[in-house]
């Protein structure tokens, strides 16, 4: 028999199946045994590859960052039902707006009659903006994850997008509310991303559940051409930063 191939040596090293003839040859051929030993020496060097150490408390750290997300992703509350969810979001935005007005009414001097340069109205709008920033950040996260799942599906075969459709359907209604609010609040960047996102959400939600390879490629092309995932991530991080700043400012008041 010829010498054992390199590929068979690799399989043999990893305990995978090789032909009985190869095993027999290996036991009697000095050259092949040396070749196997050389392979093993090289692969044992790879074991020196170091992974940065994560301490005993790492699990705790992971859990602390994770736990608040779990509550929303598995435990169902009344807000998980679509009509309630939308009503709750609309109510939050309204409370933010009215809360700002009330805050002003109690703490500021009587408002001027003109709405232009009206500090009460400005404060109310700031309240609404804070709520918008808070809820839209989560909306961006969910949208990004769903789009990534679609964008990363194997473009050469069909795919079942039933679960992504259910998420897209929920996101559409929220997207509309946020887009309108962002537009009123003159949050140009946010409004622009929400504008670009909506038709893609519609495409996914209202299209077939079983996408053929060409359907999938079409949607992937739309996601990529708009750079949606990238925009969601960039604007999403800005939103998170602004939310934190806003919370710090609120705490300072």
């Amino acid at each position: 028999m010829n010498h054992v191939t390199q590929d068979d040596l690799v399989l043999h090293h990893y305990g995978e199946e090789v032909s009985p003839a190869a095993v027999e040859h290996l036991s009697s051929c000095q050259n092949c045994r040396e070749e196997l030993a050389s392979l093993r020496r090289v692969l044992s060097l790879v074991n020196s590859d170091e992974v940065p150490e994560r301490g005993e408390a790492y699990g705790d750290d992971v859990w602390n960052r994770l736990r608040w997300k779990l509550g929303r992703s598995r435990t169902r509350s009344f807000v998980d039902d679509k009509p309630w969810r939308l009503a709750a979001i609309a109510a939050l935005l309204l409370i933010g707006f009215l809360g700002g007005r009330f805050w002003d009414r109690t703490l500021l001097a009587p408002a001027p009659t003109s709405t232009t340069g009206n500090p009460q109205l400005a404060k109310a709008e700031a309240g609404r903006d804070r709520v918008l920033l808070y809820v839209v950040g989560d909306h961006f996260d969910r949208s990004e994850r769903m789009l990534l799942e679609v964008a990363n599906s194997d473009r050469n075969s069909g795919v079942d997008v039933t679960s992504q459709q259910a998420i897209a359907e929920e996101l559409i209604d929220q997207n509309r509310i946020f887009r309108q609010t962002a537009s009123k609040s003159e949050q140009g960047e946010i409004s622009e991303v929400l504008d670009a996102l909506e038709p893609v959400l519609l495409d996914i939600a209202r299209g077939p559940s079983q996408l053929t390879a060409s359907d999938l490629q079409e949607i992937q092309k739309r996601i990529e051409s708009k750079g949606l995932v990238f925009k969601l991530r960039v604007i999403g991080s800005k939103v998170k930063e602004r939310t934190q700043q806003s919370l710090i400012q609120s705490a300072d008041i």
Partner: protein, 189 residues
């Protein structure tokens, strides 16, 4: 006595999300290791750990109790890492530091090892570079086989490739690693 993963999963399924903490504490370091080895990036690996547990939590009803939770979780992690690698490829227009020329490459491999510490550092640098230079598919397949001990057919299922294609990916990875590291083996007394 330690409660089994399956028993903990049972609690999570009945709505006790705090029980999930036990699984996070048990498996997060192992998941970090596989994520780091696949991405070679600490920050990405931390993000992958988060995403892995989030996905696992959401899909916990899909976990079949006859299989090992650790294996299932690793598969989820590998998918998260692959997503992360693809996303990074798309958004990285510029080469990262680890794709640039490694200054250690200029050191002749046959130089006598006068200082074992330096030699050891060189070996580590070379190993790291050899793994970084693999394609993402090669690295994933190799990491799963070499470090995680996952059987080739299981790797194929995870990567969505046929057994023969998976084998070829591993062969190609090993070949590149041998080319990169063999001089070190020859020069090491």
């Amino acid at each position: 006595m330690e409660v089994s993963d399956v028993a903990v999963i049972g609690q999570v399924r009945t709505g006790n999300s705090d029980a999930f903490r036990t699984l996070v504490e048990r498996h997060s370091r192992a998941i970090f290791r596989v994520a780091y080895r696949m991405t070679r990036n600490e920050q990405d690996a931390d993000d992958i750990v988060q995403e892995t547990f989030l996905r696992a939590y959401r899909q916990i009803d899909h976990f079949e109790e006859r299989s090992s939770f650790s294996t299932w979780l690793h598969r989820v992690a590998v998918n998260c890492a692959l997503d992360s690698i693809r996303a990074r490829k798309r958004r990285d227009a510029h080469p990262s530091w680890n794709e640039e020329e490694d200054p250690m490459d200029s050191i002749p491999s046959s130089e006598p090892a006068q200082d074992r510490l330096l030699m050891s550092a060189e070996v580590k640098a070379r190993v790291s570079k050899a793994l970084e230079d693999l394609s993402s598919n090669e690295r994933t397949a190799f990491v799963l086989r070499h470090f995680e001990g996952m059987p080739i057919d299981e790797i194929g299922r995870t990567l969505g490739t046929q057994v023969n294609a998976t084998k070829n990916t591993i062969f190609s990875a090993v070949k590149k690693i041998r080319t990169a590291l063999e001089p070190l083996v020859r020069s090491t007394p």
